[in-house]
Symmetry: C2
Subunit: 537 residues, 2 copies
């Protein structure tokens, strides 16, 4: 595993970073904020799986104007910049760029909370603001509002999670429906404000999603078309009624019935999107502690079927409402319908799984990244640093019980055959779709595991994608792993990218699918041909 | 009022339409579908307010491939095309292009329902499919699902309403959150499929809003960046519980209390966004019949305060739920809170205002367009043809009682002073924002009314916009009426438009804000300077 310890700065000529560029960056940012030490570069080149991309420098702008200056310098030198907000994209690439030879643009110093309106329920943040920071801020203000949080680390960036379209947890729905007024720095250094926020003094700037004219905020999610330096997040009232429930799902036939009933509960507005999580036993165990080494006599993988005779699933959800009577009536529907298909519900706000109080960021899922480590999770966990192996697949399935069971069976088998635990979770982003997110948790310090995990990850995508189960998020290793899109999509992406980033300096290769651009696209943007980069499509 | 009756075809040289272009269009579409008769052109050049833009031809493609062919011909001849779906954008410009000299691309022959899935709740339509057609289709299928409808005419296009970001009515929320899988023909003729629908065989193509990579669907709403030739609409279950309520709001102080309470009801999820409408007496009357000529002795305007001693507002909403007990509990909250601020609610599914059964398109609001006409509304109403004067303003306000009252008072005064009835409505697209939509209803056959209505419309915008109350939709006469945006927005719009429409042939001037593009933008795209076009900002 890569873990360089040298403090020697890399000589820029070796690294590909022109001396002139480094001098310019240092003149703008100050020397302490344009880093090239082997140690620091090694840290940001390290993800939770094997990567080989080198980073030339770490740039730490203090504000939006310094971001713009960095872009100007990068344009002048044709140097790619890779922006990261919190850098905690664990399992999908952490801070590592998909291509070699970028400078990392670390936005964590832009960490101001710029606006807060309790009455209208808005919070305006910069990319360095973490879920924890926003939560503490609201607590200090005595706010009655809840922050829509993530299942990821409390130290994650709100902006980072939003622009990656990360999954929320809890009753507040899609984050992208709860943000507006993006401030975006384009690769050219131009600044764009989305929606009404482009008008000075617009009274609904923070209160309306699209403003007037084309709705452009979505363009800056899962993309490399701009750097979001500010956005407004919509807060929600803390529910008066919030009751968790969970149930064990003993077998596949029950899982099918559960899912088909859950779809109707979400469709009927009784369960909110994202307020339901379904984990298999392996994921449940990994969320609670480390691999049971003594139980298996030190052997891997864990086989729960052999050890315990069953591999049940656990579903955990919550019902939230602004009023007790409404909440009780909703919970009664949940109970009646799920018990009607043979499930036994356990109630309680402190139930299992996803039933934590809404709006409180938590690191409770962190421990799963240390699952296969032999040493305990430290008090300052850092999976990149500690050689935790984590590889996610994020696939979108129709919300259909039978179809989901069939996919699960195959994915489970692929993972077991590769010697890992089939750590599987499902969430319901809507009444129409399920997200299946298998994760491979391993120990990067065990020789050969990196390669084995990557091969297993790729085999899952290789099975899913041709059958129409596309990923809804991609790890940096898989940006070129998707099949050719239909008709003009490649030309469309090429037109957008070349128009907004004429020197191709912003995160090239990240969600731009350039391997499918038409042959006559600007050769400066040439990407790897499909299957050359990741090789896993 | 423009109402040409001649059947003579315009000679193309006069009209600016090259003979070669017309021949090419006719070769592709067939002669009956490339129209240049004075009569037909006059019809599409006629809106519900004065316009002077000339249309060179009407092109009626039968399918997507003919759309592409039309674009190719238009590119070759540098001829602007102005796409319309249903053409019922009454009050905001009907079918009239914002610029002179376009050919109208009438998409109404693309009228197929291409997909329907009762279990997943999806309906895939072409731009010519109307709300009524989709409703009848679902009825024939015995569907239990409801169509998210509009307050506009039942003959309106679902695609047209979606891409204009028209307001829905009823409990199903924003239409843009309920559509996916757009098929878009770019100006270049390239075809783009948004979200997962760009992958052949993607199982979640119709079930997921964004797919993977940049979220681009929003780009094709309120824009001239592409022609949507197909999309998937998400249907919702017909509510088991659906109860309408209404209340009279006698004065401004009560209106303030009502609005502040309503904001909390929407925030708390008890009232769904768009499930509440608030109309003043003038709007209410206009929605019920024609101007009371006998009561006023033939005089205009109507002054309810003088005639009846009061000008109360009427609020009408509905509570919907998938379960009776949930619905009753929600309705109890609505009742308790609104009665708590002194309002008296009247219940009933067949209540007043917006309480029609959800999912049923209706022409009930049509009669308001004939408000000032002396002749009765015909059985086939057509406000463009019949000289109905209609001019809308659509403004976004913070959802705040006091602030809304102040704005209303001014707008009311401006309209009264101009001799029109202050026909005002409010809807709640979210818990943060109110839409105020004053409309001027007049008789275009009365000399001078067109000019007076336009001046009044402009005076409203002139008051609202500098105070930060921006329009969330624009009439074709006001596309250049907004103030300069902050920073790089103009450059951003210019970059998008020039990249996606290199010959500037797609609806130039429509929501592209080119009067604020940077001076170095391609001169081919030059727009009027601000205040020259509409003169009303």
């Amino acid at each position: 595993m890569l873990q360089p310890t040298s403090h020697v700065s890399r000589p820029p000529p070796d690294s590909g970073l022109p001396n002139a560029a480094l001098s310019s960056f240092r003149a703008v940012l100050g020397e302490p904020h344009a880093l090239t030490s082997e140690q620091r570069l090694g840290q940001v080149e390290t993800a939770t799986f094997a990567t080989s991309q080198r980073v030339l420098a770490i740039l730490r702008p203090a504000d939006r104007d310094e971001v713009r200056e960095c872009l100007r310098i990068a344009n002048r030198h044709g140097l790619p910049l890779y922006p990261v907000s919190g850098g905690r994209n664990w399992g999908l690439g952490s801070r590592v760029p998909p291509r070699d030879g970028s400078a990392l643009l670390d936005l964590s110093r832009l960490d101001r909370i710029l606006g807060y309106d309790e009455r209208m329920g808005t919070l305006t943040v910069e990319p360095g603001v973490t879920f924890r920071q926003a939560y503490m801020f609201l607590r200090e203000q005595g706010s009655s509002l809840a922050l829509p949080v993530t299942g990821g680390p409390s130290g994650g960036s709100i902006v980072g999670n939003t622009v990656e379209r990360g999954d929320p947890v809890g009753p507040f729905g899609e984050r992208l429906d709860h943000v507006c007024a993006l401030e975006v720095v384009l690769a050219t250094g131009e600044v764009v404000h989305t929606g009404f926020s482009r008008y000075e003094g617009a009274r609904a700037a923070d209160l309306h999603r699209w403003g007037v004219g084309p709705a452009t905020s979505g363009l800056f999610t899962q993309s490399n078309l701009g750097i979001v330096t500010r956005l407004t997040l919509w807060l929600e009232p803390t529910p008066v009624f919030h009751e968790g429930f969970s149930c064990s799902i003993p077998d596949g036939a029950t899982l099918v019935r559960f899912l088909d009933t859950a779809r109707e509960l979400v469709r009927d507005g009784v369960l909110r999107p994202h307020a339901l999580g379904i984990w298999n036993s392996y994921k449940f165990l990994a969320g609670r502690g480390r691999f049971p080494w003594s139980m298996t006599g030190g052997e891997t993988p864990l086989d729960l079927g052999r050890l315990k005779g069953a591999e049940p699933w656990l579903a955990a959800g919550s019902v939230s409402a602004s009023d007790d009577a409404i909440g009780r009536a909703m919970l009664a529907v949940v109970r009646e319908r799920l018990e009607g298909v043979g499930l036994r519900l356990v109630f309680g706000s402190n139930g299992e799984g996803e039933c934590a109080p809404p709006g409180v960021p938590s690191d409770r899922n962190m421990c799963s990244t240390y699952w296969r480590k032999r040493t305990p999770m430290p008090s300052d966990p850092n999976p990149d640093r500690d050689g935790c192996g984590v590889l996610w697949v994020c696939a979108a399935l129709p919300f259909d019980g039978e179809e989901t069971r069939e996919v699960i069976n195959v994915v489970e088998r692929l993972i077991k055959n590769a010697g890992f635990e089939p750590n599987l979770g499902l969430i319901s982003p809507s009444a129409r779709c399920l997200y299946l997110y298998p994760s491979l948790m391993y120990d990067r310090d065990v020789p050969g595991e990196d390669e084995r995990a990557r091969a297993c990850h790729d085999s899952i995508l290789d099975w899913l994608v041709p059958r129409g189960y596309l990923p809804y998020r991609l790890g940096i290793q898989s940006m070129d792993a998707l099949p050719p899109p239909r008709e003009g999509y490649g030309a469309f992406m090429a037109a957008l990218k070349t128009a907004l980033d004429p020197h191709d300096i912003l995160a090239p290769g990240r969600y731009d699918f350039r391997s499918h651009w038409p042959p006559d696209a600007d050769p400066r943007y040439a990407g790897p041909s499909p299957r050359v980069g990741g090789g896993n499509a």
